[in-house]
Amino acid sequence: MLSRVADSCFWLSRYIERAESSSRILDVNMQLVLDFEALNYSDSNLQWIPILATLEDQELFHQLHEKTTGDAVMEFITFEKSNPGSILASVTHARENARTVREQISSEMWERLNRLYLYLQSPDARASHRESPIGFYRALVENLHSFQGITDATMTHGEGWQFLQVGKFLERADSASRVLDFKYHVLLPQDEKVGGNIDVTQWLAVLRSCSAMEAYFKLSHGRVTSWEVAEFLILHDSFPRSIRFCVDALDSALHRISGTDRGHFENEAERLSGLLRSNLDFANISSIFKTGLHQYLEESRNRLGGISNALAETYCR
């Protein structure tokens, strides 16, 4: 496969996943804000600040908007063209990449993505967002899921598909770590206790943004603690959005590409993913909390970045 094509497949899939995770985060935050408004807690606009922090694009936001309001944050993350991380920008980049590899991906994949792009550009998208942001984000996630389904069902599971997997799981692991970190940036209102109502609501929001609530409750018998939520989202071995699951899938796809056996490495990307994978396989949650959850997550993101760079170095030069 052409190196350029491999690179485009990787990024196509990263951008799709990024658009999905931004949509989820906004959906869940919107719900959270509504909950708090119903409970009459302070200024609901405060609830939008941590969203910006997890997405790491505060500076550009403040250049464009004076006040941090829900509408401003949603506009910025959803439709803002100059924000390279916005949903619209992600879908646009995904489509640009898809256009350069149209002979690799199926026509069905292309058409699904192209229709989504055209829709997001249209006044219909704005109108539907105005009417119900939650409905809008749900529909978006559904659209992106349908793209994933079409991909798996219509594209040959060869090298190009493996590069799509690498991009998807790398981005998904990254976004899971950001969503967990969201709690680090959220301040509990004064007089609220850890383990109190608000704290639990916030952890539930974290779970919901990873579609993990139902799966989590099957294990936790109704308890919601920082400890258990973090353990689930970082270390669970078969939940498809846990960091460990994603890194394992990423490592597997890398090995399929080179044909090297798992547990061995032939290039730097495989070495780094193997290291991270074995670390996740043998870590426990108390050691993670000892390091500090935020530090641990930040470190994981750096390591994922290292894998991405090594991949480009190995295949895409």
Partner: protein
């Protein structure tokens, strides 16, 4: 009753669907019947269905206004153009004959130049052709094929006779629309096709691949064939990727290719892989910055040398542009007689060369009545239609012709045939042409039909998409279908 077409007027032009007295031509009879069952609302719904299909599939070109690019679809008209089997047989024979002669001509002028020595074409005409490449003289190309893919533009005059307007022997585009238009018609009017005997067009990519594989260097039975595109910002990128997908081969940009040891390789995740045949959709000028335009960022340094060494083949060959120079066009009937000893089956449009003194005098005296064309422009650029031109335009072309007589030709205005088109909720006649695609490999193949282009503006004779032209599906009917019509 004709329903949807009640108000239609042929206005004295040769109309593809109706005779002068308003009677429908036999091969359109059933179409008219099927359209007549339809009301305006249904027809409009079908039309928006077709449009959204094009948009969703990204069959678009980008129009830039400021820094915002908007994507437009090429206007697609739902009334097909129909060609009866006997008419098509005649066209096929004429096109095949023409391409055979053009390939022999290219081989000749890059070798012995018999046609010059025997006084059929003046040396001066060849030597001054913008796309003549003297550096290729003496080079042999596999099977002597220079033009592998030819798009020849045909028009019909006032009496319905088919005439050749020009040959596109470099990188003719538009064939993807032939295939997509058919898909759209099937999607929108599934019942229209039943028992009409329309010949399918979808074999084109396979025929193209066969032609490309046939010309691999050294007769390699399993060559690596790629499509070379300038990139996603090129207006024909959709077509490039469409063909690559349909042929199941890689589409590459120049950054994906590298020349080592006079061989061309593509950069893959498993290292370098040698490329044998390149279906290139980049003009000669931009192909190799070490040979042609030094400022080209699209090119692959060293690729021409690899070609000269016979390690890679290009389709179309380098230097074919001399055959679609509009001055060379004038000589094609003479070429057919010279190389084949046959009479041309498809005539040229009557043409005057401003390089010839007596012709020039006639042209300058009759500019208001003539179509003037620059010898080396395409896409409807560098062209003046006398009766539609302003005084200033006429004077501009007069000066240009005097300054560069070799650079221009003139032709009488041919009032192209018209076909009914959907315009503002009704049907009106619009001028059309036809570009069939001729492939030359082990055999010559022509997909039945080609691209029917429509000048969408009322009265306009310019069908090019860059000038706001649209397209139609083109139906060639099967043998034996006419009797039942």
């Amino acid at each position: 009753m004709q329903g949807l077409f009640d108000q239609y007027e042929t206005e004295g032009f040769f109309d593809e669907m109706f005779e002068v007295d308003g009677k429908v031509r036999p091969h359109y009879e059933r179409l008219l019947g099927r359209f007549s069952d339809m009301d305006t609302a249904t027809f409009e719904r079908k039309r928006s269905m077709a449009e959204s299909a094009y948009l969703n599939q990204g069959i678009t070109f980008t129009v830039y206004r400021g820094d915002e690019g908007t994507e437009r679809i090429m206007p697609f008209d739902l009334v097909p153009r129909i060609i009866p089997a006997d008419e098509w047989r005649h066209l096929e024979r004429g096109l095949e004959q023409r391409l055979r002669a053009l390939n022999l001509f290219l081989h000749d002028i890059y070798h012995d130049q018999r046609i010059v020595k025997e006084g059929v074409i003046p040396l001066e005409i060849i030597r001054t052709a913008k796309h003549y490449r003297p550096e290729l003289v003496g080079l042999d190309v596999p099977h002597g094929i220079y033009i592998h893919v030819c798009g020849t533009d045909l028009i019909r005059g006032a009496d319905g006779q088919y005439l050749v307007l020009e040959d596109n022997g470099r990188c003719p585009s538009g064939v993807s629309y032939v295939l997509e238009n058919r898909q759209a018609m099937k999607r929108v009017f599934p019942k229209l096709f039943s028992r009409y005997g329309v010949r399918p067009v979808d074999r084109y990519p396979q025929e193209l691949l066969a032609a490309l594989r046939y010309v691999a260097p050294g007769g390699n039975p399993d060559p690596t064939v790629v499509v070379l595109t300038p990139g996603i910002y090129n207006s024909a990128y959709f077509e490039h990727s469409f063909l690559a997908r349909a042929m199941g081969i890689e589409i590459v940009t120049s950054q994906d290719l590298i020349v080592e040891d006079s061989r061309v390789f593509m950069k893959t995740t498993k290292g370098l892989k040698q490329v044998d045949v390149i279906y290139r959709r980049i003009d000669d000028d931009f192909l190799d910055p070490t040979v042609f335009r030094k400022d080209s960022v699209l090119g692959v340094p060293g690729i021409v040398n690899a070609y000269r060494e016979g390690n890679v083949n290009l389709a179309n060959a380098l230097g074919t542009g001399v055959a679609d120079d509009k001055v060379t066009y004038y000589y094609v009937p003479a070429m057919i007689r010279f190389y084949l000893g046959e009479e041309p089956i498809l005539p040229n449009v009557e043409t005057y060369l401003s390089a010839v003194e007596s012709d020039r005098k006639y042209i300058l005296e009759n500019l208001e009545q003539l179509v003037v064309k620059a010898a080396n422009e395409s896409g409807g650029y560098g062209m003046m239609i006398g009766p539609h031109a302003t005084k200033a335009e006429i004077e501009k072309f007069r000066a240009a012709i005097i300054a560069d007589p070799r650079g221009y030709i003139a032709q009488p205005v041919v009032s192209l045939s018209r076909s009914p088109c959907r315009v503002d909720g009704g049907f009106e006649g619009r001028h059309i042409d036809l570009r069939p695609y001729i492939l030359m490999g082990e055999k010559t193949t022509i997909i039945p039909g080609g691209l029917t282009r429509v000048a969408m503006r009322k009265g306009s004779l310019v069908v090019n998409s860059s000038q706001g032209g649209g397209t139609k599906d083109t139906w060639v009917l099967d043998e034996g279908e006419e009797q039942s019509c």
